[in-house]
């Protein structure tokens, strides 16, 4: 599925705001036609990284190229072939849905007749026909996000950058956005996605990297990351901390990883079956055996404590 043509190549990409290092010398490659995810808590540097890629934030040091062209603040060529779905809803509140798209098409030098056709198609694509002449503040959050998707597609982009595109949406609206993004991917568009939702990353991404404090912690496919970091299954046991030592010693021969967080002891296993059998013997209450998820990887890598 993935031809290995690199669309984005970053080398030692760094961004500093005064003394604060927001992105700390990261290197990665994103290939043509894949969906690549940046996963990380708030302040991990995801948005800063994508802002450098699509030429709206100056690079402190290192390089990043898009289809061989170096990103820098004045590179209109990269902006011309990139569609951006921003995290913050920045639609034009003085204009209607239709006008928003028509004006934006102008910014990309799309001729008027062509714009009309494309705008109509895109309004269909994101199911906003009935809101065509509505002002932006008459739209629900889900509709606004859909309009942002349509706006990002006006220039038939080769690369789509979606920065937390489903923040604040109800499940229906979220699934609609996912479905639209998948359909773009199936047409061969390269997709770069940042998200804090593990389900979103699992639904959409071929590969992803987990970022934390401006660095890349791990990179790989969702499945590979889960199996490398966690195993296949997780057993959660809610017991008092004092019991840990005894319990862990009992399980030593099963080769499971373990971690204590708050009121819960986690075991990460290839096969949870043997562990469960033993646990049944102990007759413990509050035990949960479940498949490992990306969320476990995320929390293990970025820590389970709150990040402000």
């Amino acid at each position: 599925m993935n031809s290995k043509n690199p669309v984005i190549v970053a080398k030692n990409l760094t961004k500093k705001y005064g003394n604060l290092t927001a992105v700390d010398g990261i290197s990665f490659e994103i290939h043509e036609g894949e969906c690549f995810g940046f996963l990380g808590p708030n302040g991990a540097g995801k948005t800063t990284t994508i802002r450098m890629i699509h030429c709206v934030s100056p690079i402190t040091s290192g390089t990043v190229t898009v289809l061989g062209k170096p990103s820098h603040i004045d590179n209109r060529e990269i902006k011309l072939i990139t569609g951006v779905i921003p995290q913050e809803i920045n639609l034009d509140p003085d204009l209607t849905v239709y006008e928003n798209l028509m004006i934006f098409a102008k910014f990309f030098d799309i001729p008027h007749i062509e714009s009309k056709k494309r705008v109509n198609e895109l309004i269909d694509f994101v199911e906003l026909e009935s809101k065509r002449n509505s002002k932006i503040d008459e739209l629900s959050t889900g509709m606004k996000r859909r309009l942002l998707v349509a706006r990002a597609l006006l220039n038939n982009p080769k690369l789509i950058i979606a920065d937390e595109p489903t923040t604040g949406l109800d499940p229906q609206a979220r699934h609609l956005i996912w479905e639209r993004l998948r359909s773009l991917k199936s047409r061969g568009t390269t997709l770069l996605l940042t998200t804090q939702y593990m389900e979103e990353a699992e639904q959409l991404c071929d590969r992803l990297m987990v970022m934390h404090q401006g660095r890349i912690l791990k990179e790989g496919s969702p499945r590979q990351l889960i199996s490398d970091e966690i195993g296949r299954e997780v057993v959660e046991i809610r017991i008092a901390k004092e019991e840990d030592e005894k319990l862990i010693a009992q399980m030593a021969d099963l080769a499971c990883g373990h971690e204590r967080v708050g009121d819960t002891l986690y075991f990460y296993c290839r096969d949870g079956h043997e562990l469960m059998k033993k646990i049944v013997d102990f007759n413990l209450p509050n035990v949960l055996n479940r498949p490992a998820t990306l969320e476990d990887v995320f929390l293990k890598l970025t820590g389970r404590s709150l990040i402000e």
């Binding site: 699509h54 934030s57 209109r76 902006k79 951006v84 921003p86 920045n90 003085d94 006008e99 910014f107």
Partner: protein, 255 residues
């Protein structure tokens, strides 16, 4: 300076949104200058009698007209731009397209100048009804060109202020301490002849003084001495303000 023809797109975006506010802005931009014309021109003019051989209103109109251009372009590039930058996040979406930050800012200044041109032109129509108008069609054209220059000048100056304004209240410093006093020091309401030396000297630095001179010449058809220097001063100040305004505003937009 990464400027391109896309300045026009930003201008066009404002034009499209403007059609919804056009009538209210007519009222607003006519209000204050008209108030000056009526109170000073007719009320005070009745006491002043003739002024340099003509009614006081003839003295007053050219100055009030350029002041209305100044006020409109100033307010547009203060409040109008500030709203677009901070509340509407409009500039964030603009600079993610092939429109550069410089294009976007220059487009705003052009828009401010256009708003000034509209205000000035409305004043011209009102003044014509009061039987005060430039002596010839050529002078009308000259006046329109002057309005564009003043609009760009004060739009750019306002852009500099907006580039470091933390909030709306900040604009009061600029409008109350610089723009309003400028109205009274630039020979809009009375000639500067009887100012003491240092005040005359000070007035020469105010761009509005020069704009008023040119405007008055356009109305009377009698070129005042130093007309070329008036234009030169405005153009030089305007180029500097335009350049600095774009540089500073870009620093606010791009981080």
């Amino acid at each position: 300076m990464n400027l391109s023809y896309r300045i026009y797109y930003v201008f066009y975006r404002n034009l499209i949104s403007y059609k919804r506010f056009v009538l209210t802005t007519f009222v607003v931009s006519l209000g204050q200058p008209l108030f000056y014309l009526i109170t000073f021109g007719i009320g005070m003019g009745a006491y002043m009698g003739y002024f340099g051989g003509k009614p006081y209103l003839n003295f007053l109109v050219p100055g009030v007209l350029v002041s209305s251009v100044m006020l409109s372009s100033t307010f547009e590039c203060l409040y109008g731009t500030f709203v677009k930058v901070t509340y509407q996040k409009l500039f964030d979406s603009l600079i993610a397209t092939p429109v550069s930050a410089e294009d976007a800012i220059a487009g705003e200044v052009a828009w401010g100048a256009f708003r000034g041109l509209i205000s000035g032109s409305l004043m011209l129509v009102v003044a014509t009804f009061m039987h005060v108008y430039p002596v010839s069609i050529v002078n009308v054209l000259l006046l329109l060109v002057l309005m564009v220059f003043i609009g760009i000048l004060f739009g750019s100056l306002a852009m500099i202020v907006t580039s470091f304004a933390p909030n709306f209240d900040f604009f009061n410093y600029y409008t109350e301490l610089i723009i309003t006093p400028m109205l009274f020091f630039s020979g809009v309401f009375f000639p500067l002849d009887r100012f003491p030396g240092w005040m005359k000297f000070f007035a020469k630095f105010l761009p509005l003084t020069h704009a008023v001179n040119i405007s008055r010449s356009a109305f009377s058809g009698e070129p005042s001495p130093g007309l070329a220097l008036d234009f030169l001063y405005i153009i030089l100040l305007e180029s500097a303000a335009f350049y600095i305004g774009i540089k500073l505003m870009k620093r606010r937009l791009i981080k």
